[in-house]
Amino acid sequence: MAIPKDHLLWMYETMYKIRCYEDKMAEAYAEGKSPVFNIGAGPVPGEMHLATGQEPAAAGMCVHLKKEDTVTAPHRPHHHAIAKGVDLNRMTAEIFGKATGLGKGKGGHMHLFDPDVKFSCGGIVGAGIPHALGAALAAKKKGKDWVAVAFIGEGAANQGAFHESLNMAALWKLPLIVVIENNQYGISVPKAASTAVSSNDVRAAAYGIKGYYVKDNDPIDMYNVSKEAVERARTGQGPSIIEIETYRYLGHFQGDPEVYRDKNEVTLLRQKDPIIRLRNYLLNEWGVTEETIAQLENKATAEVDQAYAFARESDYPKPEEALEDVFV
């Protein structure tokens, strides 16, 4: 079945927005950290894991989701948050540690929570999978057709929570989808050095569920596979695993010396950038005009700029506010 054009345009805009957002975050993060890099300095301190290059996973899945569907994300969460429609102003303010942030500055970049669109993320590898499992369980109990998607890195597939959750999801036929972004590394450890399994979709057989594999960071393939998985989940046909071969252009975190990989690797990856590929596809196969593309890009850029301005202009929380919100 043909893909609706508006879905493709949304995906392009979203991927472009994510790229803009991460590029701008890399710059903001670097502020106050030169000439000497100090992780705790500048307007955006702490660890920073960016998703530049990994846009197709988030956009290709979230285009099929509605507000009531749940998304859990890992320590590298911005692309999922943006694709799920998290309030960009408040998300950015949170990352800048401001009082207007999603968590009033208490959470930070790895701990973004936007219950309005049912998005959450966390800094413990694999921990989001059971949360998505629980959301799927709740949907079933409430008799809703909502689905829950847990985005994880390929490294998290070796964590106990992954296996325990999928076993239960299969047992109870829950609307859970685990999207594994295989960006080839868990920090410095290449995938081949962390599992003997060739690709994680084959692990689906271990739980008797559906497994899908998306090659070479392909946004369209991701779209198609996600569509099927979401439909299956919504109609009570149970959980699935999607592994997408994707690429991490930057270090594991900003400031990563990346001693473990060839500097050339990323140059080659950038030559087949998924955003450029999708752009060309829209221009060449769908007759989308340069003008339309430019409009989408400008809209995305403006939205991102606005979010950063909001974050920078916002105030820091008062120190004593640290004592609030332990209990609600």
Partner: protein, 339 residues
Amino acid sequence: MQQTKQRLLTGNKALAEAIRLEMERDPNVFVMGEDVGVYGGIFGATEGLFQKFGPERVIDTPISETAFIGAAIGAAAEGMRPIVELMFVDFFGVCMDQIYNHMAKIPYMSGGRVKLPMVLMTAVGGGYSDAAQHSQTLYATFAHLPGMKVVAPSTPYDLKGMMISAIRDDNPVVFMFHKTLQGLGWMDQLDASIGHVPEEAYTVPLGKANIVREGTDITIVGIQMTVHQALEAAKRLDQQGIQAEVIDLRSLVPLDKETIIQSVKKTHRLLVVDEDYLSYGMTAEIAAIAAEHCLYDLEAPVKRIAVPDVPIPYSRPLEQFVLPNADKIFQEAIQLVNE
């Protein structure tokens, strides 16, 4: 006076050197953990070891803490002497069963017949906006549970000497190193993170506190970062005519009660400072020891400074508000002495 050239090392290099020396000495010693290989450990604790010993003895693991920490237990029971790294202490949550139900209890439950000569080393501490899941120290969480030694050195010298002791110890040792005291180029630069470290192997006993500054007016007890903050506060107190005695606990289990008691008997005032949560923590334990053993020597109530029972917040002003620092120690000490 004899001129001695001091050999200076950062905390992380002192640690890696200790492990290297023990690996050279004993073929049963090996290292496992996430990114301990080519990367050299996220906080540099295994720097250079992979290059020297190769992938058979410096093993990068999958992100499977339950399995690799559990595997260290199994290997230790076979007479190996594994050193496993839990990258951040905060991640204990995914593998605590192996740590406290097994590592800490098997020697006891076996009536001492099964020995687990292993080291679980892990990074602790905050102060750089890494937020609630990457900034804790959790000293007391581990120290509360019987069956494992829990140490937390504060200087490069002690990091090396105590790591060698930990590796040679026949008991499981939880070895906590503080990120900011590793002397890493990409974190806050602290003089205390670089220090004299002799080249040869030496041991520093586990379970012996260190009086790092002698004084007569108040005893300040700390561990890791709070020791250095206490020393800074002590300098300022000195200018006010107050002589603070600063004790570096170094080890939570076993705990050197005697050094604390003797000091309190001398100074009659006690301030305990901890980067861990306040309630049910190290500060309470030390206060209880004072109450039990030298209550009548105290001329003022015991005071405590610690994280006020909230998760570590991300935003800088919030985090700085909850963490101890030299200023807070100085203020509290002044008040206490004037009480």
